[in-house]
Amino acid sequence: MKKIEAIIRKTKFEEVKEALLSSDIDWFEYHDVHGIGQSRQERIYRGVQYSTDVIERVAMTIVCRDQFVEPTVKVIIDTAHTGEIGDGRIFVSEMIDTWSIRTGEHGDTVLRDKK
C-alpha cells in the first residue's frame, strides 16, 4: 500500500480528477497549496511594480494498493503534463496500515479494488 502525493497546476485539476475517477481511484483528497520557487510573476498595483514568488498549485493525496501505483502515476503524468516549467511533482511513499472506521477491518484490502 502506497501514498501518492501529486502537486499539479490548478488549471489541470479538473482533467486529472476526471482521469483518476475513470481509472481505479474512487477517493482522493486535495487542497490548494501555495509554494515558493524560483519563478516570479510581474504585477503592478496602483503604479507600484512588484513581483510575487507565490505559486498556487493543487496538492492531491491518493492512497492505493501497490499494483495501482504505476497506472495511477501514469494517469496523473499524462493528464497534468503541459511541457512548461512548473508542471509539478509526484511523490510516492510507503503506508504502514489502514483501518475502516465503519467495519473495523484493517490492511490494504480495505481499499476498494474495482478491477
Binding site: 504585477r43 503592478i44 498595483y45 496602483r46 503604479g47 507600484v48 512588484y50
Partner: protein
C-alpha cells in the same frame, strides 16, 4: 414664486440629497476594497462615524457657521439647532439635509488616506472637527454668502479680479479640502508598516477586493449625478431644466474622459492598463468637473476629465515614490490635486468668462486666489489638528495592532468570519 415650481425644486433637491448620501457607501466600499481584509470593519466604521457625527454637528452648529448671518463674511453665527434664521425660498429643513450630505462627503474623504493605522478614537475627534469647524467656515466664505463668492461690485473679489470665486458643486470647497486634509493626515501618521523598504523604495500593499472598489466607484459615479446637478438647487422652469441637464452631461463626460485618460496612460507607462488606477481616474474626472460643470461646454468637460485622469497617475506616483506619503486609496491625488486642477480649469474653460474663450484672465485669477485661500485654511487646520493630536496623544495604533489588524483590536469584531 409659483408654488408648484417650488415643490418641484424641493423634490429635486431632496432627491439629489439622497444620491449624494449614497456616495457614503460608495466611499466606504471603495476604501474597503483598496485596503486589506483585516481592517475592513474599521474602515467601514469610519465612514459611518463621518456621517453620524457630521449629521448631528452640522445640524447643531455647523449649519449656522456656514449659512448664519454675520458682518464681514468670514464666519456665520452658530445656530445651536435653531434653523429659524435661514431666509430662502426652499424649506430650511430640506436645505439643511442637502448641505449635510455635502459636509459629510468632505469629511469622509480623509478616512481612506489614513486607513489601516489610525486610532479609532482620534479619527472620531478629527471627523467631528471637520464637520464642526473646518468645512462650515470655508463654506461660509463661499456658498454661505461670504467674501469669496461675493459678487457685489464693491466686494473684495470684484474689486481685485473683476469676478467672484466660482465653485458650482465643490471641487474646491468639498473635495480639495478633503484631499488636503487627507494628505496632511497621512503625512502626520506616517506610512503603513512595510510600505517602504529600507532603501526607500515603495512596496505594493494590494487591497483585498477590487470588486468592492469597483462597485464603490460606480456608486460614486451615480452619486455625482446628485452632487453636481443637484447643486443647481432648482429644477423648475426652462433655465433650470436646461441647466441640470447640461450639468448631468458635463459630469458624465468628464468621468468617462478621466477614466479613459488613466487607462491609456497606465497602459503606456506600465505596459498593462491598470484597473485600480482607472477607478481613481474616473473619480479624478468627476472631482475635476465639479467646480465648473455649469460653465464649461461638453467638449470642455472632456478636456477637464482628460487632464485630471492624466495628472492623477503622475500625482499618485509622486506622492508615493517621491514624497513617501502613504495614501492607500489615493484620496489626496483624486480629491486634493484634481479638486485644485478642476477649480483652476474652470477659470480657463468657462464659456461665459474663461480665459480660453477670450474673456481675459480675471476669472482665472479669482479661481487661483480662491483655491489658494481655501486650501491654505484646510492645510492650516489640518496641520494643527493632526500634528496636534500626534503630539498630545498619538495618532497611530501600536505596531502589533497594525500588524494583526485594527478590526480585532480596535473593535473586537472581524469583518469576515468563516
Amino acid at each position: 414664486m409659483n408654488d408648484i415650481a417650488l415643490s418641484l425644486d424641493t423634490v429635486w433637491m431632496l432627491l439629489a440629497a439622497m444620491l449624494v448620501f449614497f456616495m457614503q457607501p460608495g466611499f466606504a466600499l471603495c476604501e474597503a476594497g483598496f485596503t486589506r481584509s483585516k481592517n475592513t470593519a474599521n474602515i467601514l466604521f469610519k465612514n459611518f462615524v463621518d456621517f453620524m457625527f457630521g449629521s448631528l454637528l452640522f445640524w447643531f452648529i455647523g449649519f449656522g457657521f456656514m449659512f448664519g448671518s454675520d458682518g464681514a463674511g468670514f464666519i456665520g453665527a452658530p445656530n445651536f439647532g435653531d434653523l429659524s434664521f435661514y431666509r430662502g425660498d426652499l424649506p430650511v429643513e430640506g436645505f439643511l439635509i442637502f448641505e449635510t450630505v455635502f459636509c459629510a462627503t468632505s469629511a469622509t474623504i480623509v478616512s481612506g488616506a489614513m486607513a489601516e493605522r489610525t486610532k479609532f478614537s482620534m479619527y472620531v475627534i478629527y471627523s467631528a472637527i471637520i464637520s464642526l469647524v473646518i468645512y462650515p467656515i470655508e463654506g461660509h466664505w463661499t456658498w454661505g454668502g461670504g467674501w469669496l463668492c461675493n459678487d457685489a461690485t464693491d466686494g473684495f473679489m470684484m474689486q481685485t479680479f473683476g469676478d467672484a470665486f466660482h465653485d458650482f458643486a465643490g471641487s474646491a470647497i468639498v473635495h480639495s479640502v478633503g484631499g488636503v486634509l487627507a494628505l496632511i493626515g497621512a503625512m502626520a501618521l506616517g506610512a503603513r508598516r512595510g510600505k517602504y523598504a529600507k532603501d526607500g523604495s515603495s512596496r505594493a500593499i494590494p487591497g483585498h477586493s477590487l470588486t468592492l472598489a469597483a462597485l464603490g466607484v460606480f456608486i460614486l459615479w451615480m452619486g455625482w449625478f446628485g452632487f453636481n446637478p443637484g447643486s443647481q438647487l432648482a429644477a423648475s422652469g426652462a433655465v433650470n431644466r436646461i441647466a441640470i441637464s447640461h450639468v448631468f452631461l458635463t459630469t458624465n463626460l468628464a468621468a468617462a474622459a478621466g477614466g479613459v485618460a488613466t487607462m491609456f496612460i497606465t497602459w503606456l507607462k506600465y505596459r498593462k492598463p491598470s484597473f485600480s488606477l482607472t477607478l481613481n481616474g474616473v473619480l479624478a474626472g468627476l472631482v475635476g468637473i465639479t467646480a465648473g460643470c455649469d460653465l464649461v461646454s461638453p467638449a470642455g468637460a472632456v478636456a477637464i476629465g482628460l487632464v485630471c485622469g492624466t495628472v492623477l497617475v503622475f500625482s499618485i506616483e509622486f506622492i508615493d515614490h517621491v514624497l513617501h506619503i502613504d495614501d492607500p486609496v489615493g484620496a489626496s491625488s483624486v480629491h486634493g490635486v484634481c479638486g485644485i486642477l478642476g477649480t483652476l480649469m474652470t477659470g480657463l474653460f468657462s464659456t461665459s468668462n474663461g480665459a480660453f474663450y477670450g474673456h481675459g484672465w480675471g476669472f482665472f485669477g479669482a479661481e487661483c486666489f480662491g483655491i489658494l485661500v481655501i486650501d491654505l485654511w484646510a492645510a492650516m487646520c489640518g496641520g494643527l489638528l493632526f500634528f496636534g493630536i500626534k503630539a498630545i496623544h498619538g495618532l497611530r495604533v501600536p505596531a502589533r495592532i497594525e500588524d494583526e489588524g485594527l478590526d480585532v483590536y480596535e473593535h473586537g469584531e472581524l469583518c469576515y468570519n468563516s
